[in-house]
Symmetry: C3
Subunit: 344 residues, 3 copies
């Protein structure tokens, strides 16, 4: 018995973004949900065994483009059975799943917690959001608890060799997750403490990324949040590393049968390699109204502030915090999204 399913989701929003000295009107994608097109196949092989395929692309519906990696989100084959699940191919980076999944604003839009996550600047890793050539093993689910191990070879390219592990606890209304990922790299982003200019500097060893997420539904409110930790490889010359710690706290309050009022606060604390003052704070507020299970209307508002050094950093490879892809030129910024989501 075998099935193929095509599904997807488009999220587009009108945005007014204040990126410091200036404001701009935009039509943007993914103000509240990821936008994607997915082909999933599944075959029941009997005896509790099943095989399947996932092919999933980003849809950048504001300008009609695809990502430069066509199946940007996932392209994998999997085998599931009493032994658990084996998965081969391009997959989500296990350690990067916590930020979005435990954010009251879903890791998307003007107020999303990932605005404060800038480890792209930390190193030349290729495994920050997705992992190529990944081999994953997931254990069977035991009373809501399961674990995942994710490995990828270097295939001769620095920034590819990767190992990640995760522990999951999922119950109705409650979820907890801990993840850790490590990638072999040979550079770190160095920010000059005086000028704020960032440049790639030779390093040795691994880039680490760990996270913890918690979520519980108390009925009138769901509280949720996460703690993320990044550690760069060690600079060859100074023997030092850079660190970042992000804390995200959120609440989701049901409003009537179809509405949800969501609030999230994020703080970012960076240290090492002259970045001790590069901290940031963000507040996001969102209202989501369901026209149906598949169709949502939403509006979000957010403010972000950052300390002097982070704001002064104007290099393209710099360590600024930004409003969802918009370059923040000053020390404070923010924006408003008004959008629509349709899933199919």
């Amino acid at each position: 018995q075998s099935s193929v399913q095509i599904s997807g989701r488009i999220d587009l929003a009108a945005r007014r973004v204040d990126n410091g000295p200036d404001t701009q009107n935009q039509l943007v994608r993914e103000g509240a949900r990821s936008s994607k097109l997915s082909i999933q196949a599944n075959e029941d092989l009997g005896g509790g065994l099943s095989a399947g395929v996932v092919l999933e692309m980003q849809v950048r519906a504001d300008n009609g483009t695809s990502a430069s990696t066509f199946w940007e989100r996932q392209s994998l084959v999997r085998l599931r059975g009493p032994f658990g699940e084996l998965r081969l191919g391009r997959d989500f980076a296990l350690q990067n799943s916590i930020g979005g999944d435990f954010d009251a604003l879903n890791g998307k839009g003007v107020g999303n917690m990932m605005n404060m996550a800038t480890p792209f600047n930390f190193s030349n890793t290729n495994t920050y959001t997705r992992v190529n050539n990944a081999v994953s093993y997931l254990t069977p689910n035991w009373q809501g608890v399961y674990a995942q191990l994710q490995l990828a070879p270097s295939e001769g390219t620095t920034g590819n060799r990767h190992v990640a592990a995760g522990l999951f606890y999922v119950q109705p209304g409650t979820e907890a997750r801990a993840t850790w990922g490590r990638t072999k790299v040979n550079s770190v982003g160095r920010v000059n403490a005086l000028t704020g200019v960032s440049r790639a500097v030779a390093a040795e060893g691994e880039f680490d990324y760990a996270g913890l997420g918690l979520s519980h539904d108390f009925g009138p409110v769901r509280l949720l949040g996460s703690y993320l930790f990044w550690r760069s490889a060690q600079e060859v010359v100074t023997g030092q590393r850079r660190f970042q710690r992000n804390l995200n706290l959120g609440a989701m309050v049901p409003v009537g049968a179809a509405g949800s009022f969501n609030v999230a606060w994020t703080g970012a604390d960076r240290s090492g390699l002259g970045s001790d003052d590069q901290d940031g704070r963000q507040l996001g507020v969102q209202y989501v109204h369901k026209l149906s299970k598949r169709t949502l209307l939403y509006t979000s508002w957010a403010r972000l502030s950052q300390s002097a050094l982070a704001a002064a950093d104007t290099a393209s490879s710099g360590a600024r915090y930004n409003v969802d892809g918009t370059t923040l030129l000053g020390r404070t910024g923010g924006g408003i999204d008004v959008g629509i989501v349709h899933a199919f």
Copy 2:
């Protein structure tokens, strides 16, 4: 209630094209119909309200490529109800719809009227055929009459800021449409009157594109045609503009139950910035035979002639008229298509 639909169409033709001093044999796409692959989703939300998604790519089946913008044709989400329709995303440029829809040869192939439309040369607009980041509103249909407004922000890039409006009248057998579009640009294509060489020259203001289309089915013949008008932005140095006016007249004569004999004549009249003599004429003749509603065979023949200055213009950014993408080197050219269309 929700549905997803995949549909598409492939049109391929053997062509012999006479581009002036030379002739060439080709296999070409879109000799009579657009080639595309489309994913459409729709959900009935009750109360006359519905939501949906359109993702539509070009299919260049002669060589297997996609357009550089993957969802080149459309990528949008829409909400329809008693209030009309709201549409966000990449969409057809409203003002550019008339040329093809009111051409007896459907705006495709050796004899298509858009061979005489060269406003790409007029300016650095990004909104000539498609509009990114577009927000569209369509009024409800009132006795066959409705209107559309289309807006797009600049998002910091010249050639993006766009406004267009359209008025539609649709009845069984009769159709009329008037459209106008305006895009902010900062260059205009300047053609040297002596050498024919074209180059981008600084301009200020807007590029305008307006059109009027009419079509009526008299039974033994459908008569149809359009008038298109382009106006460049104003050159900074001379304070002058360039203009173009195209007139297209056509007839479609049913032949038996499955055939249609189609004729279209197009004249192009350019003026301003030393282009007063760059005129052109084209005649296209086509026979289409339906093997079914989905499968067509067709053959088309066309001749195009242009005045001395247009023909002399050999710059790549020049203002030549061409035979459906084929560079016309002389003052006259033409071609023959023999093709097949299958829609699914």
Copy 3:
């Protein structure tokens, strides 16, 4: 009556490859089967006539990319009837079908016979594996015998003008095929006999590619094999050509109801333009286990050896034999694949 069908297949394998002085671990695509996503439409037009469309892309699931030509495998429209079949568009190169179809290892993976086929080095042909702008005619099937003719115009580009012909014999358990293809080119890959360095050298005339494949199922074993022949165009300066002849012999032995043990041996013999010593040998062994008709597990092992000159050739456009895309640096190499295939 009309139908649209979406199907596909993903094959991913863990590989350890020995490319001479070094070994590397990889996750690779297509260890045993092609990976693809296909959209096929078909319409029954009555009277034995039918029309249809094939759009088929490569799926590079190890890293989520598509080929640079989006519909890399096929993009065509076809009309079938009592007269045979007419096909327009991008299509498989007829002459290149034998290597894979008559290889016991299916032309894929560490032991695939196409490791020894390097005619990309022979010339600047664009028609080695696929043909753009192709027009194909297939005769009706007469007692298992039919023929195909494939033509493509140059459209002004060297390496495009192509003609190929094939004769097919297909019966239950038995298959035979002979093909020949010719493409107009203007270069040939020249390998210096002393240094092994290869470079493009001006040539005139055609690149030829011919093949013969045979397969018969004796019950306890299927024997199959092929003979391939390549001839470069004639160098302008020396008036000489380069030749290559490959022989492939294989056996497929059913093991129980779900297994198959496959062995293939390939020998390559090159001559002309100082390449007389550039020979190679390869042995591949494979076991395939069917979990279902759609889901396979497999493991393959292969060794490849090449003579001194072939091994010495280190130019990027060189004439080395390689282990399925892996650059072979020494005179011997090989590898192991352990993989999974799921078709949908």
